[in-house]
């Protein structure tokens, strides 16, 4: 074999617009090895959390991810409520599930759009992002924000959804369902998409278990794990819905699972809205006066899979230690299985198929010089470091050639 050629994707992803660096070592068109560099966006959130009060941590963890911004507060609330032994009201359960499912719909639409963009099918990209807008408008109506909704707190939610808004939510969801039908038809029936995505980036059931992959990535390979079903929280144990799975494990199966999950989300929201009508307005909070000493593990099924938070409390008003495991942390790691042996064009698609979220995976913009141990904080030095790294990378690439 001739010397492998290094093809870099990053340090800034041209399509997903997040910082990461995939190094593809290729022989001709075939990817022979792959390495991943990260840390460009590490914010030290776990450490920062130890300096915040429990109420403040919600706002912090909400900023881990800009797309699924409610999944982290959801898991954190579950963890802290486990320490306190608090049972929230039914109305708060319904509201939490409504927020969680609306987020799933907009996140899946965002991915379908990006997937279309990756394929060069920009009509799907435009459609999906256009149809995602009403969902974000709905969020603005319910929570006051299009993203980072600030709805969660220990013992319930911050804002109630007035019953007068229910018909409006139902109307918008009916419109979104019609558009989802159109989009699903366009994707599932398109022979070009079939040809381009079937058999590409296959992950077997064993690969999923080996890497501990979660969410639609696991469900597309026939591993039917879904925290909403396995360890029900909020209203997921009260409403009827089914876990969507596929068996092929390729890019098409992942798209199929996500598209069909949107319909389940609509059904869950509909049942939760009916639940809201049966409960009394305003009953969304349980007073929590103290967080006792102990350990709590909270899980939530985010659009990309299981989010896991482990909180250790020493009885004070801030966590003694807060461990966060985002869903992409295990899903991205599967790239070695899905990309090696494929062509470069297929590898880029396989990398995107797990719906990677690099912000979630890293969680400090504080830089140390490895040689002197001194902290580098000023902007000029950071820019210089960036330029130096780019030059090194260029040199590395030209050397490989």
């Amino acid at each position: 074999m001739s010397k492998p050629t290094l093809i870099p994707i990053g340090p800034y992803h041209p399509l997903q617009e997040e910082p990461e660096l995939f190094k593809l070592y290729c022989d001709g068109e075939i990817v022979k090895d792959i390495k991943w560099e990260t840390g460009y966006n590490h914010r030290g959130i776990e450490k920062l959390s130890e300096s915040k009060t429990y109420d403040q941590v919600f706002f912090l963890v909400e900023r881990i991810c800009g797309i699924c911004s409610t999944s982290h507060p959801f898991a954190f609330a579950n963890a802290v409520e486990e320490i306190c032994g608090v049972e929230i009201t039914d109305r708060a359960k319904y509201i939490r599930s409504i927020i969680g499912e609306l987020e799933r719909i907009h996140s899946h639409l965002l991915w379908v759009g990006l997937a279309g963009h990756f394929l060069g099918y920009n009509t799907v990209f435009m459609w999906a992002w256009k149809y995602r807008e009403p969902v974000l408008d709905l969020f603005e109506m319910i929570t006051g924000n299009r993203n980072s909704y600030a709805m969660f707190k220990v013992g319930g939610v911050r804002r109630d959804i007035e019953n007068s808004k229910i018909p409006v939510i139902r109307k918008i969801l009916a419109d979104v369902t019609k558009k989802a039908d159109l989009l699903t038809g366009a994707v599932m029936d398109d022979p070009v998409i079939h040809a381009r995505t079937k058999g590409v980036g296959v992950l077997t059931k064993q690969d999923i278990l080996d890497y501990g992959a979660v969410g639609p990535t696991a469900r597309a390979s026939g591993v039917g794990i879904d925290i909403r079903k396995d360890d029900p929280y909020a209203a997921y144990g009260i409403v009827n819905w089914k876990v969507i799975t596929a068996t092929a494990g390729d890019v098409f199966a992942k798209a199929e699972v996500r598209l069909l999950e949107m319909y389940e989300s609509v059904s869950i929201i509909d049942q939760c809205l009916s639940g809201l009508e049966k409960t009394k307005e305003g009953e969304v909070n349980v007073k929590v006066t103290e967080i006792p000493e102990g350990m709590g593990t909270g899980r939530a099924e985010a659009p990309r899979g299981e989010v896991f938070h482990c909180v250790f409390s020493d009885g004070s008003n801030s966590p003694a230690r807060h461990k966060i495991r985002a869903q992409s942390y295990t899903n991205i790691a599967t790239f070695r299985k899905s990309c090696i042996g494929q062509t470069i064009a297929d590898a880029t698609l396989s990398l995107a198929a797990v719906d990677p979220c690099y912000c979630c995976t890293e969680r400090m913009a504080v830089a140390y010089d490895s040689a002197s141990g001194q902290k580098i904080l000023n902007a000029k030095e950071l820019i210089d470091m960036s330029a130096r790294k780019t030059a090194e990378l260029k040199q590395q690439i030209s050397h490989k050639r």
């Binding site: 450490k47 278990l209 501990g212 482990c310 504080v366 140390y368």
Partner: protein
């Protein structure tokens, strides 16, 4: 199989190496084990009992360095925490990454942030701060003080 049965079976299998058990509720349990048994426990849970590895949480406490390995039994929604306490001055434990890949990144991260050594890890390089962080400085240790300048 319920949580109680799983814990009893675990106790039967590892006997004196199980230092403590706590069943919080039917979906949460904690078992403290002798750290030298981690490979055998990992193999038993992953291969024989079909547990899924979620993640591991490291802590720096008065007792030393502690690791909670979180495993999930999805069929019954159980989170089983395998707890180990490592030496204060020389924290080290066998790596599970030769058995399954799910622990690979988190062991590298714990090594980077806490300075815990994972023996026989296939590739114990830094995960998030390669080239940007001083050697031997572990930011998640309690003695680490941020430079306020």
């Amino acid at each position: 199989m319920d949580t109680q049965t799983i814990i009893e079976k675990f106790r039967g299998k590892f006997g004196p190496d199980v230092l403590d058990t706590e069943i919080k509720n039917r979906k949460r349990a904690l078992v403290t084990i002798n750290p030298e048994m981690i490979l055998k426990v990992g193999e038993y849970l992953f291969r024989d009992e079909g547990f899924r590895f979620i993640i591991a949480s490291a802590l720096h406490t008065r007792k030393g360095f502690e690791i909670h390995y979180h495993f999930s039994k999805d069929e019954i929604g159980l989170v089983l925490n395998i707890h180990v306490i490592l030496d204060k001055n020389k924290p080290q434990i066998e790596s599970l990454s030769n058995m399954f890949n799910a622990t690979n990144w988190i062991e590298r991260e714990m090594h980077e942030l806490f300075g815990i050594d994972f023996l026989h890890h296939p590739n114990q390089e830094k995960l998030i701060s390669e080239g940007n962080w001083a050697e031997g400085v572990y930011p998640y240790r309690k003695e680490f003080k941020e430079d306020k300048k």
